[in-house]
Each structure stands twice: as structure tokens, then as C-alpha cells.
């Protein structure tokens, strides 16, 4: 137990900050994922074949390729790509991007593909009459989307989004390969210096279980809130 004490002797405080880092990366990644799904969901639903193709390519590639490979692409290719863009603007110094940003972007793109699928499914399962009624009543497009489609869509999407959140939370463990100090990385460091991997990896597993358990409870509340009246 003294291994987990706070202060210089134990790993308690380090693991605590690592847990906060995992939460921060997961939330950032989830938000980046939402940004991506806001772009790609309309593309997947559009009647235009070309837009459709773009949307489908994104979700198919991301969902068919291992997360680790995507992370390696970002980790090794990220600063190269930024430097290439910078060189167009006449900046030739070496640029290193922060592991947090690369990590959350990589996980964000992955989680974006999953949430795109969730939103697409949710919108498609809304009754067609709702869309037609809005058109008949002559609502402006953004009002009809925000006030009619969005609330119904969220109700259908939240249970599946909670799955996406779980996947995202677990995927953040893979960022440890890039050296960002989150739960997995911190356990690796602690296991290396105390030669007690069994204890620290089991503790990491418990931390992940706690995180998934607590977030499930919170999401269940949201679910109740959004399904009022059904």
C-alpha cells in the first residue's frame, strides 16, 4: 500500500495526475470526434454521390484500420505534416507538436468515425413524417434542425454515444506509446522503477474500471433526462 502513498515515496499523486490526464485526453478526443461527426454526418446523409463517397471513405478507413496504426501515423507524421504546411508559409525551423495534441487528434479522428455512424443511424431512424411536417409548416432550416430533429436525435443517440465514449476512454491507453503520461504510461514508469508490474498494471485496470463505471452512471442520468416524455 505504501507504493500508492502521496508524496515522494509513493506513486499515489503521480497516478492521480495520470488519471486526470486520461480524462482530459478522452474528453478532448470526444469533442474533436464531435467536430468530425458534424462535418461527416451530413456528407454521409447527403444525396450527392460524391459527398457520400467522402463520408463513407472516412468511416470505412478509420473503422477498418487498427487504432495503434493511426496513432503511429500521427506520432511519426504529425510534425512532418505541420512543418510541410509551415514551409509553404516560409517557416523552416523544426516544429515539435505536443504529445497531448497529437494523441487527442488521433483518438479524436477515430472516435469521430464511430460517432458519425451513431448520428447517422439516429437521424435515419427519426420518423420521416417529422421532416415532412417541418417542411409543410415552412420552418427555416436551422430552426427545424435545432428544435425538431436535434432533440429527437439526441434521445436515440445517447445510448450509443455512451459506447463510443467507452471505446474512446479505452483507446486513450494506446497513446502511452507516444510517451504522453496518462494512466498506462505512468504505470509503465512505476512498474519499471519498482519492479512490481503486476501491482501497478492491476491498479491501472482498477482505475479504468472506476472511470468506466462512474461515466456510465453519469450517462445514464443524461439518458433519463433526454427520454422524458417517452
Amino acid at each position: 500500500m505504501e507504493l500508492l502513498s502521496f508524496g515522494n515515496a509513493g506513486w499515489g499523486d503521480e497516478l492521480f495526475y495520470a488519471t486526470l490526464m486520461t480524462i482530459a485526453v478522452s474528453i478532448t478526443a470526444m469533442l474533436i470526434g464531435f467536430l468530425f461527426s458534424i462535418i461527416f454526418t451530413p456528407l454521409k446523409l447527403s444525396n450527392n454521390k460524391f459527398f457520400n463517397l467522402i463520408g463513407n471513405t472516412y468511416t470505412t478507413i478509420i473503422r477498418g484500420v487498427p487504432e495503434l496504426l493511426v496513432i503511429y501515423l500521427f506520432f511519426f507524421g504529425g510534425s512532418g505534416a505541420i512543418m510541410y504546411v509551415a514551409s509553404i508559409f516560409g517557416y523552416y525551423e523544426y516544429i515539435e507538436i505536443n504529445a497531448f495534441i497529437t494523441g487527442s487528434c488521433a483518438i479524436g479522428i477515430i472516435s469521430g468515425a464511430y460517432s458519425t455512424e451513431v448520428f447517422r443511424g439516429a437521424i435515419q431512424s427519426i420518423d420521416k413524417g417529422q421532416f415532412e411536417a417541418c417542411k409543410v409548416l415552412g420552418f427555416k432550416k436551422y430552426i427545424y434542425f435545432l428544435k425538431v430533429i436535434m432533440p429527437q436525435m439526441l434521445r436515440l443517440a445517447i445510448p450509443n454515444l455512451s459506447n463510443v465514449w467507452q471505446i474512446t476512454l479505452k483507446d486513450t491507453s494506446l497513446i502511452s506509446v507516444t510517451g504522453l503520461v496518462e494512466i498506462m504510461r505512468q504505470s509503465y514508469i512505476a512498474a519499471g522503477s519498482t519492479r512490481d508490474p503486476l501491482f501497478f498494471y492491476s491498479f491501472a485496470a482498477i482505475l479504468y474500471l472506476l472511470l468506466t463505471f462512474i461515466s456510465m452512471k453519469l450517462i445514464n442520468r443524461l439518458e433519463v433526462k433526454y427520454s422524458r416524455g417517452f
Binding site: 477498418g64 503511429y72 492491476s202
Partner: protein, 224 residues
């Protein structure tokens, strides 16, 4: 775009894809038995057995696969007693550690898929069996299991694809699978995009194959 690098790395990556497929098929093979066992335990009326099976699937579905591999590969080797048993022959190899971790992980997901399939079997099918005087055991093996397997095919297809992506984690315990070799080539040549296209293409091709095989099986074993 470095086309020649893509061409020279293709055979190496294809060789590594064989390792990925081996890992996948072995872990699915063991995983399906683990899944079936725990699905049956979940359906048991005994609350202790039921809770145990639920705990197993909760534990393996609630933690990242990476933690599971690390506990099995780095963690178990630390126990002195464990190293003196015959099991150590298996657990000292990263290859078998990875397969054990994958099998336990996919077993947890498979047990959930099969459990829900068992629960959605129409009671009429079982009643028909009973009224024909077939024994409970035969109803279970010859009616419930085949129907459950057919019903869980679409979900199991997704699980196979998820597991194929999961095998990429074998590269973290020194195994040279498709992702491991891809990372090695990237870190020696610093051409991430080219290697990603080739390795990702191979993964996508495998996903495509799995998807179509499952679709074919679904059609072949459909009830209509």
C-alpha cells in the same frame, strides 16, 4: 510519395499480415469456447455463478486490452511460484501471452453476444422440441446452440473485425505483426504516410474479406 518504398515494404508487410491472421484465428478459436462457456454460466439460475460470469465480462470489457496484455505478459512473470509451474512454458512466450489476452478479451465480448442470442430465442422453438419428446440436453445442443449461433452472426462479425484491430497491440509485447513491422519501417525510413497506406490497405482488405464471409454465412444459414 515514395512509390518504391511502398513496393519494397509490401512483401515484408504481407509476411507480417500472416502473423496477424495467425494471432487472430488462434485467439478467436479459444475465445469462442470461453465465450460459449461464460454465456452458459450467465444463463445459470445460481446467483453466484451468474455474478461470477457477469464479473468476468465486466472486467474484460471495462478495461483496455493493452492493460490486459501487460498484466499477463509483464505482471504474471513476477510471481515466483508461477514461474516454477509448468504453465511458465506457455507464459514466458510473448506470442502465447498475447493470444491468451486476446482470447480472454474476445471471450468476454462473445459471451455477451451469445447470451443475448440465447435470450432472444423464441420459446416456441424450445417448446416444439419438448412436445416432440426430445431430451433437454439434445434440445440445448441441437436446437438452442445452432439457433443462437445463427442469430449472433452479425454481431460476431463485428467482433471479429474489432479483434483483428486488437491484434495490433501484439506489437507492444515485441511481436512483429502487421502493425509492429509497419512501425519498424516507419521509424527507420520516416515515411509514415506511405507505410500507413500499404499497411492500412492490407488491414482494410482483411476487414473486407471478413465482412463478406460473414455476409455469405448469414445468407447461407438464414431461416427463410
Amino acid at each position: 510519395m515514395d512509390i518504391s518504398l511502398m513496393l519494397t515494404s509490401l512483401p515484408k508487410l504481407l509476411g507480417a499480415a500472416v502473423v496477424t491472421l495467425k494471432l487472430l484465428s488462434l485467439s478467436l478459436f479459444f475465445g469462442i469456447f470461453i465465450g460459449l462457456l461464460f454465456a452458459i454460466l450467465r444463463l445459470s439460475k445460481n446467483p453466484f455463478i451468474n455474478k461470477f460470469a457477469y464479473g468476468y465480462s465486466y472486467l474484460f470489457r471495462g478495461t483496455p486490452l493493452l492493460v490486459q496484455i501487460f498484466i499477463i505478459y509483464f505482471g504474471l512473470g513476477q510471481v515466483e511460484y508461477f514461474r516454477s509451474t509448468f504453465l511458465w512454458v506457455v507464459f514466458k512466450e510473448p506470442y502465447w501471452c498475447a493470444i491468451i489476452a486476446f482470447a480472454l478479451n474476445t471471450g468476454a465480448y462473445t459471451s455477451e453476444i451469445l447470451r443475448s442470442a440465447f435470450q432472444t430465442i423464441k420459446p416456441g422453438i424450445i417448446e416444439a422440441g419438448k412436445s416432440l419428446g426430445i431430451s433437454n440436453k439434445i434440445i440445448f445442443y441441437k436446437i438452442q446452440i445452432p439457433v443462437a449461433i445463427r442469430q449472433s452472426l452479425p454481431a460476431y462479425g463485428n467482433e471479429i473485425i474489432l479483434m483483428m484491430k486488437g491484434t495490433s497491440l501484439a506489437s507492444t509485447v515485441t511481436l512483429m505483426d502487421l502493425t509492429g513491422v509497419a512501425k519498424y519501417i516507419i521509424s527507420t525510413t520516416f515515411k509514415p504516410i506511405e507505410v500507413f497506406i500499404v499497411a492500412g490497405g492490407i488491414y482494410l482488405f482483411m476487414t473486407f474479406l471478413i465482412h463478406n464471409i460473414i455476409k455469405y454465412l448469414e445468407k447461407k444459414y438464414s431461416f427463410q
